[in-house]
Symmetry: C2
Subunit: 324 residues, 2 copies
């Protein structure tokens, strides 16, 4: 890559990995992925800087701070102060429960290039809206089915923030008094469709005597948690507990997404996240079929689509947020 | 009233009554209410014209078409073609299941004054937003609990139409597989909170042997249907079936409104409609209390308010839509 186009970096910070991309002229021209250090916030921030440097090197640009590097965007879990670039209240990233000066620290380490910090789900929605499956539309709900279930809403082409907390489709009540959600309430969409809640439900089923191969598949893959790919493998092998849990997840998504559609009359709903991407088009098609019967205007459904950027939605969206 | 300010008329067409107001300088300066003829669309439109004339007379303006009458807005049930002023698919207004040239007919009868036609719930939301309880806010959901449950959404100060069907909060699924809704599906908010569904549920309870005074109260008031005021009287008298049904309606509203809040992070939710207005502030306070536990961000709830315009929300909103 030897163009003179200015470069923008996007970073998707997660509990297990740091994904960086370099964008030039709206195209990804370099990328890198590192594991998230499981130690301190300082170590995490140092690793973000290393991941960015590696992604820049992958473009053919000189190592370290580049004169062509215009801006960096970072999507992170937790509560974000967009004005200061500080993050807090993330239980997924080591050290990020406390107040962490993420933006200023990364900026200082890379020649004081401007750094924009935003919520991980929101930047992923921006990625799919501007560069992925959402491009043909102006009114889109992005639903990211991962460890939890996050959402972001684009209305009339703009990300809706509300008073700071819009997009929480994961905490739509889909079954009053139903399964306990990681948020503490009962019957939320996330309690039926989030990876963590599914893992907990599978463990309870096993303790209740239901036979499942899910945890053997997990062990065989060398994992210590039931990842999206473990669920995908168990589903493919016809594991009954897994099949039943995913059936319930589809039903729950059908209710929650139809509720949103009935209220907002959107053009499209994009289903992504680790579980959404891994289970792929057959899962998205099942969700679409489950939405249909719950629609007030069934003959005019929204397009229900998988992501186009897959696990790069967040990093690309972070670059978009930074102007790239 | 002897000002020279131009007059705008707003009409709220319902299945049982036609309410007209005359607005000058943003104030209601005259009004009239007639029963809706239970015969033909032509009779209904003729009665709308008479109601408008009576409302204009009440302002002190000369009878009939007034040179100061600038425009007329009409809110109607059914499917509205805003460009032509035609209405169809309303089962509540006699003759309005077929295509009815409502706007052109009323315009021709009143000196060809411009007539704007819009959906009854949407205009009621516009009334409360611009002239009622919604004035301090820019992001508001209006929920009208009447024969059915309708809704309208104001985002960033603008009514959201979506692709034509936005606002259907009444068909949020609040209990999967639950009570049959007049729309044919199961478990909708309207099945638990709409007046018609409540009346049907009360009849089933009575047929199942539950004792209720609801239908005696209805008969004593000379009604042939369980109106909002009949429900209010039965509730006040401690009728057990009614108490239980309204308890369930509050729970259902708590779920549906919290779902909308979690997704949109609104400033305010306005609860109106025949049942909402008649049961009044204690009912609205109960709904607010039921919303709270379902909120993702419980320490930052929306204001949950009753209407300020009461049963004039629709007529005033129709005048607003017509520029008054």
């Amino acid at each position: 890559m030897a163009t003179a186009a200015p470069l923008t970096v996007g970073v998707d910070l997660g509990g297990t990995k740091i994904q960086a991309v370099v964008v030039a002229s709206r195209r990804v021209v370099g990328q890198a992925r590192h594991p998230t250090p499981q130690t301190t916030a300082a170590a995490v921030m140092a690793e973000i800087v290393e991941t960015i440097k590696e992604a820049l090197t992958a473009t053919g640009a000189p190592a370290g701070a580049s004169p062509r590097l215009r801006a960096i965007g970072i999507g992170t879990p937790g509560s974000v102060d967009g004005a200061t670039g500080h993050v807090s209240q993330s239980s997924n990233v080591p050290g990020f429960l406390a107040d962490v000066p993420l933006g200023p620290t990364v900026s200082a380490a890379l020649g004081n290039v401007p750094v924009a910090v935003d919520n991980d789900v929101r930047v992923a929605v921006m990625g799919e809206f501007h560069r992925g499956a959402g491009r043909p539309f102006k009114n889109v709900l992005g639903v990211f089915v991962g460890t939890g279930v996050g959402g972001g809403l684009i209305l009339d082409g703009k990300l809706r923030h509300g008073r700071g907390s819009a997009g929480e489709i994961g905490h739509t009540t889909v079954k009053p008094g139903g399964r306990r959600c990681p948020c503490g309430r009962r019957g939320c969409l996330e309690a039926y469709a989030g990876r963590l809640a599914l893992e907990q439900a599978a463990r309870r089923k096993q303790e209740q005597g239901h036979k499942t191969d899910l945890f053997e598949i997990m062990a065989a893959k060398g994992r210590d948690r039931v990842s999206s790919s473990v669920f995908a493998d168990a589903l493919e092998k016809g594991d009954k507990v897994t099949t039943r849990l995913i059936d319930d997840a589809v039903v729950a998504l059908g209710i929650a997404l139809a509720n949103a559609q009935n209220l907002l009359d959107l053009e499209a709903i994009i289903v992504g996240g680790g579980l959404g991407d891994r289970l792929g088009p057959p899962f998205v098609a099942r969700v679409a079929a489950a939405v249909g019967p719950n629609l007030r205007v069934p003959n005019h459904p929204p397009a229900i689509l998988g992501t186009e950027l897959g696990d790069l939605s967040g990093a690309v969206g972070a670059a978009v947020v930074a102007g790239g």
